[in-house]
Subunit: 353 residues, 5 copies
């Protein structure tokens, strides 16, 4: 499915939070309150738990997995003062990666890639960052992306614990970006396998594979280019709410996103090349097949003509009566065949090219 965006009917008022009904049980909220000294985790938090953490002085990270329902988003929006346009973007998943600042709060949309039977699909990951909270929403509930961050948070003395919310946001973004590396590594392997296959034994199924690779690269590309823009904007823009120290780290993350795009574009060129190699292989094989046909036909058609010449039933054909007619014709035909073979040999049609 190429078109992945959920959208309201055109003309709906902006900020309308009416999404499709959510499958029961698909949603999970994980709530963490932490300072450098202590950490409190609630695994399956209720919206009320989130509400309460507002009044506490420590830093709060709320992570929602699974597609959120409008009710939840409205509540979160009210408690944390999130902008309706941003909430709408969370519900209408399939957004282009973007970053916006709404009244002192940072809103960031990124995307994670999932392998499906139809090829890669993007899963939206959204972030809100305020004074001392981060809310992250991952559109599907298949796998909790941020478990490694949670592990680091649990370690007393880790840098994550002592820094502000912007550093937590950086860590989350960094993880989403870095998850593209193993994905690209897998694609690189598919390309190399296909390369070998194409140069050795190209087959009809290769086209499907090339097509699938191109499609996947198009999908990744559609999300990675704006991702780079988003991180570049966070890094450079005055308004971006990311502190000086977190920016130093974000610069590293930006380098990664640039490198990912470099790789993507290299891959795209390699896959284009593969289509050319496939087409040239088909053409080459056609040549081989037709060469066989031509060699066989060209040798036997004149010979068959000769034999059928002497198969004519004319009464007065002196050769037929001759004692040496048959051997002579055999000799002629043999010579002709040898000449033909020599001629083909000289033209290189008998060697495999």
């Amino acid at each position: 499915m190429v078109f992945q965006k959920r959208y309201h009917p055109p003309g709906t008022a902006p900020g309308t939070l009416a999404g499709a009904a959510v499958e029961a049980g698909a949603l999970n909220i994980s709530l963490i309150n932490y300072t450098s000294d202590h950490i409190e985790e609630v695994q399956k938090a209720s919206i009320g738990d989130c509400r309460m953490s507002l009044d506490r002085p420590d830093k709060t990270w709320i992570h929602v997995t699974g597609r959120p329902d409008p009710k939840l988003m409205t509540d979160l929006g009210q408690f944390f003062g999130l902008h309706p346009l941003a909430l709408e973007d969370v519900l209408n998943a399939g957004q282009r990666p973007k970053a916006d600042v709404y009244e002192g709060q940072l809103f960031v949309v990124l995307s994670e890639m999932r392998q499906t039977p139809d090829g890669l699909q993007a899963v939206q990951v959204s972030f809100f960052q305020g004074e001392n909270f981060v809310i992250s929403i991952q559109e599907d509930g298949a796998e909790d992306l941020f478990e490694p961050i949670r592990k680091r948070l649990r370690q007393a003395g880790s840098r994550l614990r002592s820094k502000d919310a912007d550093y937590l946001l950086y860590a989350l973004i960094d993880l989403v970006v870095d998850r593209k590396y193993p994905m690209l590594e897998r694609i690189g392997e598919r390309i190399e396998q296909l390369d070998d296959e194409l140069l050795e034994r190209p087959s009809r199924s290769s086209v499907g594979q090339i097509h699938g690779l191109k499609r996947d690269l198009l999908v990744i590309r559609r999300f990675c280019w704006p991702e780079r823009e988003v991180i570049g904007w966070l890094l450079r823009d005055e308004a971006s709410l990311i502190g000086r120290e977190a920016r130093t780290y974000l610069r590293d993350c930006y380098d990664h996103s640039v490198q990912i795009i470099d790789l993507l574009e290299t891959y795209r060129e390699m896959v284009s090349m593969q289509m050319e190699v496939y087409l040239s292989a088909i053409s080459h094989r056609l040549n081989e097949i037709i060469r066989v046909l031509t060699v066989i036909s060209t040798i036997f058609i004149p010979l068959t003509f000769i034999t059928s010449l002497y198969g004519m039933n004319f009464e007065f054909m002196p050769e037929l009566r001759s004692r040496w007619g048959y051997p002579a014709v055999l000799l002629v035909m043999a010579s002709l065949a040898v000449l033909m073979v020599l001629w083909f040999w000289r033209r290189g049609w008998l060697r495999r090219s």
Copy 2:
């Protein structure tokens, strides 16, 4: 029809408002006067009704559906102080989307896509925004684009009612932009269907479909790129008459127009890919056909040569007399055939590739 622009003979004075005659009854003016407290609608308004709303303190929205005649535009122009160059652009439909400010009034041209038997066609939608009025002109009368906005306006307490004219303009622009989503969704479905067809049973008609898709994408693209520019200009330019608050919403609309272009470019690449897949499928099928020909010919041509050899009428052919001649020849031919088949098998020509 690719060339869609109406134009005056070169050398005509600028601002000349002489268009083609308009078909009777095609034109409809809908007039709405509203404040946050009340709303008045006139469905089939006359030009006089429009004139009168000028003197009223409330906000006015005039929507014209169907291609306007020069007379109407001249009158509107005089009443509301619209610039002749802008009026000319409305009459000479087929404009590139654009935004201009003429003496304190904003003039915006966007486009709506219509499905016709010849493929997609653009329909021009023009907007004038002044102090407290918005005039919108939709070039064809097929379907009133802005009915959803009208519904929202009728709801007491809706944000549209309480805000200024620039917010109404934003809402209209937003609707025109968002209408590209369902259109692109339909095109995405066409692409996927064609993908399946191409990988399973490519046929001559596929070329026509690929061609049609490419053509439609070219048409959309020609209007969507400048549309993005227009909205970007409205968003950023000092002169654009859009207030700070409406800009927050317009930014969302801009994101949509960027995403639409992303999708378009992805689609374009997918359609290019489809042409390649089609060509490779044709080549592959050619290979298959010729392989059948070659296999059959290569097996039977030598055999036929042998049979016609013994069809010769020479008197002295000892084999013909031999009791074992016939079975021996049959054996030779059978062995030859088996050898050939084995050779083809080993080369993989008997398997479907």
Copy 3:
């Protein structure tokens, strides 16, 4: 002819006005002196007439059709203080569209397209604008481009009469730009005709037509892109000598030149597409032809083998003696033929694809 530029031998001093000899009678000077109150026209003016209008207070428009000779340009240059480099550019036609300011005078080069048997050719149109004069030079004498402007000038009370020389210059430039519309409309029609032809009955001559279209588009493109730059420069640059009011109109003209380029690029993509469609049509037809060959050969070659088997002259072939030999062989061959046909039918080779 792709290379159209006239040039001096490299190393010639800049500003040298030595052109080729001009064919007698090819040159015509039309001189108009006008204010908002009166207008004076001289159809076949001499260089002396031009000289005299210098001393008059009213506005002067000198239009030269046909390739000017160096003598004339030198004289005009002296009288009106034109810069030698600009004069050289007028004589060495085939310039890239450009705009320059030389000591308070504006020099603009645009181009007009002419249909010739070898395809489209560019004709250079040059303009000088000073305090109260405009000199326009049209490289060929085939058709006076500016007759519509002259008509408007003759109308008392026309805007052209009351405005300054910069507005006249705008009007001339606008006309040159707008003349691209009918030309592009014609090309659009050629493209659509060719589209129909390619999808229905592609022939060898289609390649020539596609080639011709591509070539024409390349020629137009080479002149339209810099034309847009020129008008953009006139519009934006401080130095451009175009007044504030004329700029409002020129902005409209700029929009046109942008739209022309949009169309051009769309056309170029459509023509590329046509080449692909043509190539796929050829490939498809090849498939059809070879399918016929393969079907016929594959059915008859084995049958012929059987017949020629029983055409052998062995003395001991028991089948030949049998009463049922002939009918049995006929039956076998018929069955074989039917089986073959069924096999081809199942593979879809008997249907037109």
Copy 4:
């Protein structure tokens, strides 16, 4: 030879002036001292002559043809205070066109194209401009590029004589740029000839020609794009040492370099088009050849089957006995042939497409 750059072993100290040994007699120095009043020329000047002109108040132009040896460059460098990095660039010919300012001296590298049996090759032309001298070095000695400038210098009262060294530099650069015109004109002619050939009688040698053209255009392009940059930099940059007056002229030269690039890119597109036309011509010819084969085979294969049917030696074939057997079979075969021909006619396979 694509890779043309001479370079030191990586890691050599910058400014090292060790070049290859120079063939004796290949080098020629021409020295001109001039003011507006007088001119002195030395045809085969020694390095001592150059040294002496340093002390004179008049302007000096030293022109070196042939690849200079390190000794000469070191001496020139010492006398005129040239920077070692610039001297290294002169010796390591094959530089990208560039312009640099070293301590009040301007250093410019341009390139001239030479036709060789392997296609076009670039010849480096370097310039140093100081207070009142210009040194120009032309990498090969085949033809003195600047003879036309020398002629203009000899004319008393020529603009060259009265202006400063920067005007002389301009004149030299202008000549190098303008020499691309005749070269492009020749390439344009090659393209047109090839166009005609491709549409009328494409042959195997056309590929070689297209390949040669593309290669030449790549070589020119590699040097013309940076040449435009260099001239643009000289024109615009504060640091460029070119006076206000020479800049007016240089602007003209810049226009030429832009036009040259326009032409180049147009040529490149035309040559790409030619490859497509060639490929479509080959495909078309293949169709024609195979159509002949198919028509002949399809008509005669069934007929031959019939004849060989009645060539079978069964004893009981009633038709063979019949008086009308032979004429009947002839009639059947004739009808079949006619039907086949009609069928082919209707499908358009007998007309040349």
Copy 5:
């Protein structure tokens, strides 16, 4: 292997220095302390030696060959105050070339190309530059890149000795950049050989070679473009820590990196061209093969029909009885063959095209 980047599992804390275990003995540290007066070299330095040179007033250059282990980098980082993110980049080799400033220290990553059986591979070369030290780390130990620099350092009075650390850094960067010249020269030779092969005797192996060339160019390109950016940044940015004098030299190095990219892009176009030439050669050869088949078939199929006509066993075939039947048929067949040959000759099918 296209994907070359080493990376931590996503979500690892930034600055983590845990790399793979390093093969024993692969690592070598070479330490040089120098001033303009003296130089001290330690060939196989320990980390302790490095530590000691910190306290000395002279300039220090530490060069590490072979992939460093985390322990070594941690130590170096502590002694010289290197930033953990930079150290991580050194360990996670396969970085995109980049330059960063961390607290007064410059960190630069470049790359060197190595020929491997799988094509070119990039080897990361990293540099740290502080007040009076340079640390360079070359990812593999195959060949010490910087031996030429060491030779220059050993020469008393060399510029390297007297200048600051930034000049040493420049010299190292310059060497890494210049090493691309011989590599590109070798690729240029491969392209030219392949060119000749393709125009004379294209074979199946050509595709593999074209593919290999394209792949190598993609790899180089992926590293050379950012390398140019890095050097451009060092040259222009305020923060880059490169002094004014070293910048003069670095500008030369920048010119080289630009020229390398020019060459790369030219090569890429040439290799694309080669694929086209190969495809056209295959098509052409197919034409030749099929022409032979068609000529032979078209001449002999009708003749064989005639012979098999008179091989029919009808009792009443008057021609068979005629004395002149046989000679007449021979004559007819000979004429037919001659006519066919003439017809083919006229169509040019007997000449090699």
